[in-house]
Symmetry: C2
Subunit: 347 residues, 2 copies
């Protein structure tokens, strides 16, 4: 089959690789219908996260089950399924508690020896714990497929951020980061009943989308000026709930400084940098909490799926560029250059 591989920074290739097969009785093989490129894929693309030359890449996909191992019971050949960005066994202590990202047998698509999502097919370990079946009719609805694809990462990650930040009815939520996750956090905050949602961002196409997703205010400033602007919107107090969806020291520092005393930061930006961006003295004096991390999206899919299916929540507009599999390298280039927000791959 054809699949995307990464050989060096900025050197992505789409090449022939062995077809995946069922190796363990809990495996399934999924023929990919839609996949996409994640902001976190760019860390590998730019060489900021190390990769072994030839390693697969991509961790968001949905598709049709092609083959299942003898022990797989929850899905079968022909089912339309979505995969979260990590596989998980579904039965360990952590999976039963909903923290599927800490699964004792969990792993990442594209890790050495595993298939990546940006390929024609994927061997899925622990298929019963990992895959979620979708209604078959969705396969012929392009908009719905795009919306469902976000369940593999960005929608659940935005939801995790909003929950971590404590988004709730009546709250003011601020979102640092105008990427797909930040925008999905806006959607999630609205869905959780936030009264006011302040999106921080300076790219008009993105902030327009933030408004469409439910942002009531947009702050285009950065750094100290952004802090001033958020405070001006909140009687000098800051936001009850702040989403940090970037992962840099500067964005975390901004998040701390726009959080209201007693409030919380929901952090889902993969941490990059030698420091934390956290001023612990400020957090101590003002009782600011920090919650979040890698989102257990598998556990959120059953909860989020009905609203996506009935259109109450429609994250599909986060995809603003679609490429065929052979065009994946161009898709990365567009996201790296910020000419595309999020790139979908069709097959």
């Amino acid at each position: 089959m054809r699949a995307t591989t990464i050989h060096a920074p900025f050197d992505l290739r789409v090449e022939d690789v062995p077809d995946p097969v069922v190796r363990q009785p809990g495996d399934a093989v999924v023929r990919v219908l839609r996949s996409c490129v994640c902001g976190s894929d760019l860390w590998a693309y730019r060489g900021e996260s190390a990769r072994t030359p030839g390693q697969r890449i991509g961790h968001e996909f949905l598709g049709i089950v092609e083959e299942t191992g003898a022990e797989v019971g929850s899905v079968r050949r022909g089912d339309l399924v979505v995969a979260p960005f990590m596989w998980s066994d579904g039965v360990c202590d952590y999976c039963r508690e909903g923290l599927t990202t800490s699964c004792e047998h969990g792993g990442f698509w594209g890790s050495v020896g595993s298939d990546g999502g940006q390929g024609e097919a994927v061997r899925v370990p622990y298929a019963d714990g990992t895959l979620v079946a979708l209604p078959a009719e969705a396969a012929s609805d392009d908009r719905l497929l795009a919306a469902l694809l976000t369940l593999s990462d960005v929608l659940g990650t935005g939801h995790h951020a909003a929950l971590g930040a404590g988004a709730r009815p009546g709250a003011t939520v601020a979102v640092v980061g105008d990427g797909a996750v930040g925008l999905c956090a806006v959607l999630a905050a609205r869905h959780l009943g936030a009264e006011r949602i302040i999106a921080l961002g300076r790219h008009e196409t993105r902030t327009d989308l933030a408004r469409r997703f439910g942002a009531t205010d947009v702050v285009a400033e950065r750094g100290d000026a952004a802090v001033e602007a958020v405070r001006a919107l909140t009687r000098g107090q800051g936001a009850h709930a702040v989403v940090e969806a970037v992962g840099t020291e500067q964005s975390m520092s901004t998040a701390v400084n726009i959080t209201r005393d007693g409030g919380a930061i929901g952090f889902v930006g993969v941490p990059h940098g030698s420091g934390t961006g956290l001023d612990l003295s400020v957090m101590f004096d003002r009782n600011i909490a920090l919650r979040g991390g890698v989102a257990p999206v598998r556990a959120y899919i059953p909860e989020l799926l009905p609203d996506v299916l009935d259109g109450t929540v429609d994250p599909s507009p986060v995809f603003d560029l679609t490429v065929p599999l052979e065009g994946v390298p161009d898709g990365y280039k567009a996201m790296d250059g910020r000419t595309a927000l999020k790139v979908m791959v069709t097959y």
Copy 2:
């Protein structure tokens, strides 16, 4: 009157100062019956927190109301009252939400221009918001007075830490720090229903007290060995809820490494050091939350008081040395040298 002042590191004096008087209609003057020395007072004593020469010190006291301003309605002359370690107006947004430490008119005893708790009397601003009346008969019960005195800081701070950490029925709680706050966090964790409470500490008199307060296990190791020991006690997973009651980078780092995936650190140790001790990548990968800060003990007093009055919760054994006011400098010396856990001052 006589009061304790700090002139330089290790230079505490008990000297004559002006008698406090009602200056604002919301003020009260309280004649101190019991006060005490806090672990955080030692930061000033050691010169690690700056003080203006001659500044008062001490922030934990209870006593008898001697005089009230015209607008004071909740307490009157002769009442036995306890003061939390900060004053607060009781009516601002934050006070109404229970975050009295963020009060718009709040302040610290012993700040420049204010009386400290380690003196014969204290002018209390915003007396209605700040003071809590106690049953008059408690004034003749030495053990009960000692227990009630902990409501001014360490019991409420331990409770805040345990809540921040997420102590709850069935949970395993670990407490980093064997000072009075850490020990009160053990009490609080037991009161909140924790199934297992692991106290980290190597001073036998303190760990014996931890066991008396409800600790089920004691870990005497430090650093990596402490992490190993806690993991060995928790099937390799760590504790659901971890209290950080020290405030150094090393103690915070230990706290992160003994927290179970998906768990939380309740931090109440005043942060000291140039870094945070937090490894954000570990916290991200394992979804470890951080909650806490300066404890809004005023808001906790009404909740904790009944259990202290009926003896269900008895923190009085944290006081292992009693001195008269003139002996306050000796009390600091004993706490600084760790020959005393917590020093009470009698009048």
